[in-house]
Symmetry: C2
Subunit: 226 residues, 2 copies
DNA sequence: TATTTTTGTTAGAGATGTCTAATTTTTGGT
DNA sequence: ACCAAAAATTAGACATCTCTAACAAAAATA
C-alpha cells in the first residue's frame, strides 16, 4: 500500500508525537537521519495522501488516517519482535533491527499468524504496547525511575531505548522486564539512584540508564509477596 | 548488499539457467515481467559488479560469484517457506508470495536461526533443494511423471510450479510430497495418465498437471512396503 | 539469398527518494 | 523593534529503476 520510505516517516511521526501531536521538521529529520528538504517534500506527498496535515512553517501533525496507518506498522514491528523473542529464542537486544525490516512485509496472513501463535500479546519484549488491528494503542501510565523516591518498591515495566548496547548493559546487570527493585537512595546532585534487587548487593544506577527505564510503582506492602 | 531489484534479477537468471547456463534477454524479461530495455541496462549494471557475463547480443550467463549470490537468495527463500509451513502452520500453497518478500531481509542471524530451528533441512515444502551456506545446491534427479510407464510405482518428490491454484488443486486431490502412486495407464494421444494412490479409486491426471509433478521411481518390489 | 520476424540495444523520459546550496520565515535575545 | 540564530522551504541535481519509441542485429523463412 505505502512504500517503505513512507512507512518509516509515518512511524517516526507517530513516535515523536507528543501530548499535542505536533512534530517539527527538524526533529523528524534527526530521527530518520534524513535532511530537512527531503522531509519537507515527503510531508507534502503524505499530505496529498491525507496522512499528514501540512502547512508551510507550521508543525506537522498526523491525520486520523495517518495515526491509524502508523499504529498498524508499529503493530507489525512489535508483533515481530515478540515472536522473535518468544518463539525463536532471540534476546531482546537482537530483534529491533530485523523487525525494522520485517515490519514492511505486506502479508496480513503472516502477521495474523504471529498474533495468533503468540496468543494476542498486549506488549512487546521491550514493554511497549502493541496496537490492536484497528490501530488503537493503550497508553501505559508508567513512571520514570527518577520520579520515585527512597523506599519505593518498583517493577521494571519497559525500556525507552532499544539499542543493543543499552540492552546488553541491562543483561549484564541482570535487569529485565518484571524485575522488582527497592530504591535505597536517590542523590539529588548527580542523579545516582542506588537500588537492590534479586537479593544482590546494592547497585548504583546512573541517570543515563534510569532515564531509559520505565517502572510501575508497587504498593508498600512487603507482606503479601515473597 | 544488493538491492531488492538486483536480487530478483539474480534469482531469475539462476532459475532460468539451463544445462549450459545461458539465458536470453527476452526470457528474463518475461520471467520478471520487466521490459527488455530495462533488463539490458540492469545486465550491464550486474556485469559491472561481476555478477553476470554480458556481451551485446550474446546470451546472458551468471558468473561464479553471481551463481553463489543467487543461490544464497534462493536459500533464504526456501528456508523461509519451510519455516512457514513446518513451524507456523501455513499450507504449502500460502507461502511463496510472502517468501518472495522475506528473502530480501538482510539478517544472517535470522536465517541462521530458521535453519537451526528446522534442523538444517535439505528441501523446501515444494520439494526443491535448499542451497547450503556456501551456495552449493544439490541437483535432484527426479523425473517427470510423463517419463514413466504403466505399472511403475512412483513417489511424488517435488512440484515445479508454486501457484496457489495448482497447489490447491493438488490439495483437493489429496496429492502431497511423499505420496506413492501406481501408474495404471498412459494415453499416448491426449497424455492422460491414470493413477491409483492412498487406496482411493483411480484418478485421471491431465498433462497440464503431471507436467508440474516430479517423481522418484521406486523399485518394483511390492513386498517390503505395505 | 532476400525478406520478414524476432530479439536486443540506444535514446530519452518519468517516478521515487535522496542530497547540497541558496533563500525565506520564524524565533529568541538584546 | 532589531538583529542574529534556528528552522523550514525552494531550486536544482543525482541515483535507481522503470517505461516507450526508434533503431540495429540476428535468426527464421521464403
Ligand atoms: Mn523495536
Ligand atoms: Mn522500518
Ligand atoms: Mn517459492
Ligand atoms: Mn523477491
Amino acid at each position: 500500500m505505502y512504500s517503505q520510505a513512507e512507512e518509516n516517516y509515518l512511524k517516526a511521526l507517530f513516535s515523536l508525537s507528543n501530548f499535542n501531536g505536533e512534530v517539527n521538521v527538524i526533529d523528524l529529520s534527526r530521527e530518520l537521519a534524513i535532511k530537512m528538504p527531503t522531509v519537507t517534500s515527503m510531508m507534502k506527498k503524505l499530505a496529498g495522501k491525507n496522512l499528514v496535515h501540512y502547512e508551510s512553517y507550521k508543525p506537522l501533525r498526523l491525520t486520523e488516517k495517518g495515526k491509524i496507518e502508523a499504529a498498524l506498522i508499529v503493530r507489525k514491528h512489535r508483533l515481530t519482535e515478540m515472536y522473535l523473542v518468544e518463539k525463536m529464542g532471540f534476546g531482546w537486544e537482537e530483534v529491533h533491527e530485523v523487525a525494522e525490516q520485517i515490519e514492511h512485509i505486506n502479508s496480513p496472513a503472516f502477521f495474523d499468524k504471529l498474533d495468533q501463535l503468540l496468543g494476542h500479546p498486549k506488549v512487546d519484549p521491550h514493554g511497549s504496547p502493541i496496537p490492536d488491528k484497528q490501530g488503537n494503542m493503550d497508553v501505559m501510565e508508567y513512571r520514570n525511575l527518577g520520579q520515585c523516591e527512597k523506599g519505593d518498591t518498583v517493577k521494571v515495566a519497559a525500556v525507552t531505548n532499544e539499542s543493543d548496547e543499552f540492552l546488553m548493559y541491562l543483561n549484564s546487570k541482570e535487569i529485565y522486564l518484571g524485575l522488582e527493585m527497592v530504591i535505597l537512595s536517590v542523590d539529588p546532585f548527580d542523579g545516582l539512584i542506588v537500588v537492590c534487587y534479586s537479593g544482590r548487593s546494592p547497585e548504583a544506577i546512573s541517570q543515563k540508564v534510569w532515564e531509559r527505564l520505565l517502572v510501575e510503582k508497587l504498593e508498600k506492602d512487603p507482606q503479601n509477596r515473597k
